[in-house]
Symmetry: C2
Subunit: 478 residues, 2 copies
């Protein structure tokens, strides 16, 4: 029986070997483990808890948007994919098919996304404008048989996500709510995950298979690569026309529905690791932590009982913060410090006999390692304040980094230099698929988005010199 020996602490540094450092944080902070099949992962309780916090944040947001949760089948008939040509083409290489069984009349694939199977139902459910808008979301697993190198959370063959799929009478409402979903995503990712994002529209080359427009949130990782965080799509009437999703309009005429879809996945947990973790391990934004603070008693034989008793009182005082008391007597304090740092608990409270004598404790912040002496009487307000400060500070710090990485390129040389020095490069771009493909081949960079925070302007494309109006962000990306 071979057992992997657990090595505490990271053996790689973020600045030296980012990729291996990342894997170690994911594994050693017990966020995830490799599954028995290549490209599959186990999301361990520490990782899944982050996903649950994200769900708990986003479910009420969707409720306010009028979106209801549902569940559609895992298996999709081949004929469904074939109805929307671009969609079929986009997903064909990544589909996993079921073994032929005698009673199945056609091939069945495990869902890579659920547009087709959902819209088949929508077409039957909606008869009249009175049944619209129809707003449904599902939280589920999807499978995409990646051939690229897989990576925990960032690219796995199976992942968890939410996919919202709504249908409307008018395109205006459809686009407006696709944009609204993106705005809510941005709020969540910045407020909860403390990761700043840039919002914009995708170019033709990067658009979702079957969409008329794709909106996206892009973030920028510390290794100088962009990461797509969430997207929403205006599907136009592409799917409604192929799925016969029509309804009786207010005028009595048959009309085809306007549809959008939008989603984010467990990839967000990967971004969280990359942006916030350090050489000691994970750093959790307080709002995402199961236990935002942990009490570690400093135990000596003769004072053990008194110190433990005070720690129990402390835990009671800090109950509303779901504070953990680590009273395991078979591990040393040093071992515990390292373990809780590795796992990213935002605040640590140390209390030993000397502290007890002075009616104080030591409060240590995970992100800055800053230590503060706090009178025991003030601990509640101190914890509350530090948690709020830390959540804000983490966003501010990563926002500063994003700001520093964004640069403008006025010509092709500046563009290439920017990409080579791992920046997020903004330049005027013609938007053409062929031009973008050439840029990719020359620099390995892809367009990330046409940011909403830039006005169109007249000029020429940074690469092909053809007329261009859109300032577009480019970077090498995950």
């Amino acid at each position: 029986m071979a057992k992997k020996q657990q090595t505490h602490g990271l053996t790689e540094k973020k600045e030296d070997n980012f990729s291996e450092w990342y894997n170690q944080v994911a594994l050693k902070a017990e966020l995830a483990d490799y599954g028995p099949i290549k490209g599959f992962m186990v999301i361990r309780p520490n990782g899944y808890h982050i996903w649950e916090k994200i769900q708990a944040y986003f479910n009420p947001v969707m409720e306010k948007m009028g979106v209801q949760n549902a569940y559609f089948p895992l298996l999709i008939p081949e004929s469904f994919f074939k109805k929307e040509a671009k969609h079929a083409e986009g997903f064909a290489p990544e589909l996993a098919w079921l073994e032929k069984e005698k009673e199945i009349t056609e091939r069945l694939a495990i869902r890579p996304t659920s547009e087709t199977i959902m819209y088949d139902s929508y077409a039957r459910w909606v008869q009249s404008w009175r049944d619209l808008p129809l707003r449904i979301n599902q939280w589920c697993n999807v499978l995409r048989w990646e051939v690229k190198q897989t990576k925990l959370f960032l690219r796995t063959r199976e992942f968890l996500w939410q996919e919202g799929h709504c249908a409307y009478e008018t395109e205006a409402q459809c686009v407006q709510e696709a944009r609204m979903a993106l705005t809510e995503y941005q709020k969540m990712i910045e407020e909860l995950l403390a990761i700043p994002v840039l919002a914009g529209e995708k170019t033709e080359a990067e658009r979702f298979a079957g969409a008329k427009q794709t909106f996206t949130l892009e973030s920028f990782m510390p290794d100088g690569r962009a990461l797509q965080m969430a997207t929403s799509h205006n599907l136009g009437q592409n799917f409604s026309k192929t799925f016969g999703f029509a309804f009786e309009g207010k005028t009595g005429e048959k009309e085809f529905a306007w549809q959008n879809s939008w989603g984010f996945s467990t990839r967000l947990i990967g971004a969280l690791i990359m942006v916030h973790a350090d050489n000691q391990g994970l750093v959790l934004p307080p709002q995402l932590a199961r236990h935002p603070c942990v009490i570690v008693p400093i135990l000596f034989e003769e004072t053990k009982q008194a110190v433990l008793a005070e720690c129990v009182k402390l835990r009671e005082k800090l109950k509303r913060f779901n504070c953990l008391l680590d009273d395991r007597d078979y591990y040393s304090s040093g071992f515990k410090f390292n373990e809780h740092e590795l796992k990213g608990i935002p605040l640590r409270i140390e209390l030993g006999p000397k502290d007890l004598a002075k009616n104080q404790c030591v409060l240590v912040r995970r992100d800055t390692k800053e230590k503060k002496i706090i009178p025991l009487a003030d601990i509640e307000s101190a914890v509350e304040k530090e948690l709020a400060t830390m959540q804000q500070a983490m966003l501010k710090k990563s926002r500063q980094y994003l700001h520093e990485c964004r640069m403008n390129a006025g010509n092709w040389n500046e563009f290439v230099a920017g990409i080579e020095s791992k920046k997020l490069v903004e330049a005027l771009f013609c938007g053409k698929k062929e031009c973008e493909e050439q840029i990719r081949q020359k620099t390995l960079a892809t367009s990330r988005c046409i940011p909403f925070d830039r006005e169109p302007q007249n000029g020429s494309c940074v690469h092909c010199n053809q007329p261009a109006t859109q300032r577009t962000l480019f970077a090498r990306a995950y």
Copy 2:
């Protein structure tokens, strides 16, 4: 474009054609729809909301039990199934395999349950007694390729469930917590779903594939068939030995872990329909309803504004009950009454101009159809009281039915007569697999459980007359 025409209201009666009536409730209350592939279902928002309420109830229960949620891969390698022989044999006929892909070294099945893939990880994660107990649950979809006739919620090829999988140092704690899970299930099913259950242990023939003991909750449906509601299993060391799941015990010796697993599925929603729905449609226990009450204004042209204004005030007053105001002006009040009855909203409040003149409204209970005139000033307390009363009354009513259906059989003739008259028959039974198989062939009844509320006694088996000590419940079952 062929559209199914929606027929409002049920065309079958519960007492005449139970099976078709059931399908109609599930479909017309928009709890579920048939998927495009035989045996698969779509869980629509009304149905999925019930599942979310169940999750919201049970997640905190598990947290108190020290159980954490996680997520394991959908696909399981063939070699994993083969490790535990009985488990492999039990699930073999129901597995759906992936099409052979060149890079896969062995066959992959979609999970029918996750014992094997979880314990493969457990064996790597646990080194010492310090890492135990390990308590993990996952909420997920599973696939069992049923060959029997499928039925919405009750038997579908894909369903949603939770599966808890825990590991311990000792068998005593393992069994104790398997029993505790069952007790928590019983509390939930009775308190939340208002369905009474009988708790007991399964006979050898009905035991889970690979388990040492299976504990079960059994309910009894209005068509005279039993339904298994939830189970928990003492797996002993069957899996830990085959998966090499050993740890260093307190004495320093290598020991194999003791394991249990426990689960319930979306089948509970099927039970809910069968037990509570009536010929007007679904009846939701108040605690499971998205909107426990709905206000239907009675609108006439000249008093419309005044009545609607009062209804808006009423909704504000009843905000904490998440009360719905149905102010759609393109449907008649009668249409709305029928629709909300069909969908099972527990309380309806009617308010028309005559009510407004008298500062009152009409409160109608879904389960009893009882109408009460309530002064507008008293509406909050009236709603609160009716919701609590209704939740209790629904459980009481179904408990009464269960009590009436349970009977004792002192000999084989009584046993056969009981089964024929669709009762839940208790009798002394030897517990042997072969004897149980003969009973099944003769009567179509299977053993449901050896109920915990009966003491063992000495006697002879109702069927084979061999010595028997266990009073065992038999019935025809879903």
